[in-house]
Amino acid sequence: MNADVQAMGAAFAIAADVRARRRTAVSVVTAVIADIEARDTRFNSVTRILGPAAVAQAEEVDKAVAAGRDPGPLAGVPFGVKDLFDVCGEVTTAGSIVLRDNLPATQDATVVARLRAAGAVPVATLNMDEFAYGFSTENAHTGTTCNPHDTARLAGGSSGGSAASVAAGLLPFTLGSDTNGSIRIPSSLCGVWGLKPTYGQVPLRGVYPFVASLDVAGPMAATLADLQAVYAIMAGRTIDALPDVAGVRVARLGGWFASNISSEITAGIDAVMAHLGSGQVVELPEVARARASAFLISAAEGGNLHLPRLRRRSMQYDPATRARLMAGAMLPASTFVQAQRFRRWFRAQVHEALSQADVLVAPTTVGVAPRIDQPTIMVDGRSVPARANLGIFTQPVSLAGLPVLAAPLAVDGLPLGIQLIGAPDAEASLFAVAAELQRAGLLRCQPLDAGYARKDS
């Protein structure tokens, strides 16, 4: 992907071609579908191709262009959705056979409808951990999604298909959801851009729930420009101008967030802080308990949500999900309430930290993607399961509900990422800092083979 496309945005480059009649939307969509069919056998990022409906919508885009009507800013741009977003006419499975007999959705999720109204075309549903309960996209029903940068390694999860399809160059952007790190972790392990917006900001109507207290929906993309544009459409916001990065106070998170990380991540954060001219370190108190609270709230709310089905047909669930949901359904009420009270306390501590800095820099994971045949990571000198523990740096931030931009470090070898954490509703500051670091060559997304950018289709 060349620098012009990086700057303009891969999605906007497609839309510009469609609007100028250099390409048709139908040719773009059919070529992307052919590319997925040819290459995704290696990655298993896609669960369903929405062929006829996608081509039909692309035809409407081309008709609008031919008639001189505005086809929208994302005219003819193909995208994919984690299989928990309602797409009209499709059954929303949430990555499980448990919901397979549900009726097809009668309307799009709000965010899908907003993107469709902007001219974008949903072409595929994407793999995930069953019911979004995991960090690895190992799914007993739909298989494991492989990391495009090394197919022997995990893509991360639960929005693993969303990250892998962007990293592979199959799609310019995708939608994911993030409860405890499910956008940020796969974005980091696959080396793509991701955004977890402020909790409560992006509408969740038509998004299958997991943990109502923590769930958010957000975009993942191959370019920062696309990430910002798609986020703005999803949130129904306009970002007219980013703040001057010179006026944005940046600090790194210490303590919990400086332990257990690889030397490559430490070096990456060192370089980021040096470029931004900040040596400030901020420590949040009681981070282990913040993570524990997010874990307990997730287990309790997820368990409660699925309890009626667990009573009747538990054996349909992925074994790993079933065990976690059953344990969560039995948590005492006092434990759940204590976690929610702790959240209130932790919120005050986070806001105190944000009085010292506008953007906090932290690692996303402890290191590179774990191997599929050895799905463990090292924490405090112990080998622990990746599926449950990849979120040690993301879960505490989820509890606070803050916006986080997951940014891919410009590293040789396997991808690594950092979290740029902001105050509530301060996404613009995150984009400003990310843009500066990209300009400096410290952040970079390199899809394998951006088939959608080829103009011979």
Binding site: A323, A327, P424
Partner: protein, 51 residues
């Protein structure tokens, strides 16, 4: 464990019990960690949370 399951109308198949017990113990560890932190009585639960 079966008694706790009965309280919420859940039957845990025997084959699933070891994994459920392991997860319940994991959650208990987190609950113990959280329970060791004293919160003031006027700290309300964060229902209807606003970041």
């Amino acid at each position: 464990m079966p008694d706790m399951a009965r309280l919420v109308g859940l039957t845990i198949p025997a084959a699933c019990l070891p994994d459920v017990v392991a997860n319940a113990m994991l959650l208990q560890g987190y609950a113990d960690l959280l329970g060791g932190f004293a919160l003031p009585d006027d700290c309300e639960p964060a229902y209807g949370y606003t970041p």
